[in-house]
Symmetry: C2
Subunit: 201 residues, 2 copies
Amino acid sequence: MPTVVQTIEVREAILDATDRLLSNYGYKKMTIDDLAREVGIGKGSVYLHFSSKEEIVLSHIDRIVERVKKQLRLIAKAEVSTAERLRQMLLNRVLMRFDSVQHYTQNLNDLLADLRPNLLVRRKRYFTEEAEIFAGVIDQGQQSGELSEGNSMELAEIFLLSSNSLLPFSLSSRELGNRDEIEERTLRIANLLLKGLEKKQ
Amino acid sequence: MPTVVQTIEVREAILDATDRLLSNYGYKKMTIDDLAREVGIGKGSVYLHFSSKEEIVLSHIDRIVERVKKQLRLIAKAEVSTAERLRQMLLNRVLMRFDSVQHYTQNLNDLLADLRPNLLVRRKRYFTEEAEIFAGVIDQGQQSGELSEGNSMELAEIFLLSSNSLLPFSLSSRELGNRDEIEERTLRIANLLLKGLEKKQ
DNA sequence: GGTTTGACTAATTTACACATTCAGTCAAAA
DNA sequence: TTTTGACTGAATGTGTAAATTAGTCAAACC
């Protein structure tokens, strides 16, 4: 009997292989046969971990966002001002996503065209989940008096919305510009938003 | 001999028809024969005004952005605070674009897939042209002491970038949400950015 | 004369029949 | 009990002939 660890390892290996195949072939041309061969397991075994091809790829995207959220939670706990945490969180949100799909040749929207309806549903969920982490930090800042008042969840959503156009989706990483430019732009947005959010002295 | 006015009228009629055909059929299925019939002129006459199908559709998009820019320049001259002008400009920028393609069933990105390379080039130009109008108002605000210092063109670009994800491009107007929601979100972004930009008293 | 046109052409797209490939299953092997 | 790959219907690709279309230009039209 495989241990839970082994099960998770295989699952992770499938998602790793998914990333490689997606970046080379896109969703349509990536086949479950290829995937199983790449992982070194039988085709049927893939279906012990996932119920469909669509679920595999969505899980891969989920994993990327989970990693981003993990990093956001880490920064949220750092021992610096709330403004600095929010700045770093926004920067990481944008750059981690950029780095995650940098090796993809097509843009995500086309790459995942067949999943579009489900993908849009997930994107909304991702957005809310990320916003909740931002909102927690904003709450702290408001309680400590560092940040001015306002609905923290609404403010968090403004932060994310303002940086959304810098995420790779309809534009590939390539089309978005080079990484340094993205970083620069994200910081500028963060700085102006934070200036608006910080309590005036 | 047709007058200049007649020439412009036909040109405008072609672009009007382009809008109708695009919204119903998309770029690929829209034919020049259809277009000429819709306008009530011969097919060859279409080519007296435009050099290619691609140029027709790009001119149609140009026209939308020209109308937006015209409205922005109008608001830029209004007799209210610079902050209020910037707020209204951002709102109009987003909502005019929303309204312009509200009747399209597909999203613009798919609708115009064949023009993608040229369209991306234009989008950059549109962005800069709009930013210049914003920058002018920011300059005024800085000179009058209403707004805090900083590179006005960079600040203008932050304003536009922050609202870019609310423009219909990879998402259709339908997918973006209803008009009131878009308006609400744009205003929230504008308000927070302006709070950051207004001179602290 | 200049202006407008639609028949024309090369190139692209479609339609269709057929072959191949694929997602997902499940009986058998491990 | 777990893993597998042969199997199946559905979907996708392929080859090819027919149809459509972007763009042209000689003739028709004022």
